[in-house]
Symmetry: C2
Subunit: 277 residues, 2 copies
Amino acid sequence: MFSVPYILHEIDDGVMRVALRIAYDGLAFFGHQRQPDARTVEGECISALRVAKILRDPKEAFFRSASRTDRGVSAIGNVIAFNTAFPPRAVVGAFNARARDVWAWAAAAVPESFHPRHALQRWYRYHLFSDISISALREAADVFVGTHRFDSFTSDPAPGPMAIDRIDVTRDGSTTLFDIRARSFRRTMVRRIVAAALGYAKGEINLAEIRTALRGARRDFGVVRPEPLFLMDVRYPFVLDVLLKPKVRDELRAIEVGAEIRRRFVRALHESVQEPR
Amino acid sequence: MFSVPYILHEIDDGVMRVALRIAYDGLAFFGHQRQPDARTVEGECISALRVAKILRDPKEAFFRSASRTDRGVSAIGNVIAFNTAFPPRAVVGAFNARARDVWAWAAAAVPESFHPRHALQRWYRYHLFSDISISALREAADVFVGTHRFDSFTSDPAPGPMAIDRIDVTRDGSTTLFDIRARSFRRTMVRRIVAAALGYAKGEINLAEIRTALRGARRDFGVVRPEPLFLMDVRYPFVLDVLLKPKVRDELRAIEVGAEIRRRFVRALHESVQEPR
């Protein structure tokens, strides 16, 4: 892997193509794809870029996203790309000055033909907060790895054979992490795979049922809720330069402190209930 | 201390007075006291009680709160009281079915004359998330304990001599807890005491300046932000019966999970930034 391979490919008259790595809070948006009357991730990105005069028209700028995450899903490292007259570093600052609940934290100049959807690999992480058997989850996870038909594991039209590169199930404190990597995913796919693995871990279904579905038989194993799912990373044959501005650090710190206040609120209340007065 | 001492004091024609212990999320409200166009804690409580037909008119029902917490401050155990025809247990269920961001979790039947402001003691907890010397905070805290003039430590009119019963400064993980107990407090008082103690711990002021202020000289040591402050408890010579409904447990669990998702979002982002790709 090499760093920022395509320095300032001038497309036309000072215009270049820039890729931004963005993180966002899925709870703050009504999904990813632009909609006229709802606050969406793409809508917020485009509006921030427009106000900052980084781009005028998203169509003209060939604005594209790597992954259209399901509504409620957060991202640590999704990627957007567009044509602009501004260099990558300037774009990061201008974007973060305007965007709310979405943060740009890395950037690169990329060739004119770059479409962020064409990635080497995507990595999703699902968080499970209930107490569940790790070994059972791993058994189910192993069934999914490799090339299968995922018709029963997406709300998109049947996608044909797809490959899951890898699934890791690990424990982190009282949380179970379900990390899944593949070149691409379809809508609700990660959440349907997790639902099936959970169904097996809970003894509600057996592995043969999952295998049958992966051979193409239609079966609905349900879908887990979107909020605990993060798109962790989208990888390309090059890296994007990290640029974490103080403003972004401050906003992240504020989120962290807010979360700690909430956690302590619930804990204090539980403790008070234990010792009535 | 004894449990629920005043069982069903009938005031008039089946009407009794009920005290509810309530917790609320200060971030969800624009302060405590009722206002015509803002969502406030009292406003939400009264509206929930009205919709549930627990009371009709708050004036007629002699609706009162123990503490009017500053805007942004959360409560674990504030107390409200009002006259109603419904017994305490029924009131808790009906209240929680309607109220949002505020939860009733204990109740008692109390005498007609009960005003929740007349309490034995109030306990506030301030959370400090920055790294600060515990021993310096304790030195400053000791100066406040006892009877003093707190004119410089409230945005209310000069209240005359008041007594702080006790202050405990402890460490809990990476958080410092500042627990302060007194019969009563005035507006912004805890936050101004914490600001002065922090000022001393940071070497910005000395203890003599605090002592001078506590003798009545006017001095402004600033005020810390409200969100990390919880009203933990308001104590009476009797206890309120705890009644934690499953719906409330579920809502608290959802808050906890939401906080954990936020915490992990920030952590994952920090980790990603460390290892650019």
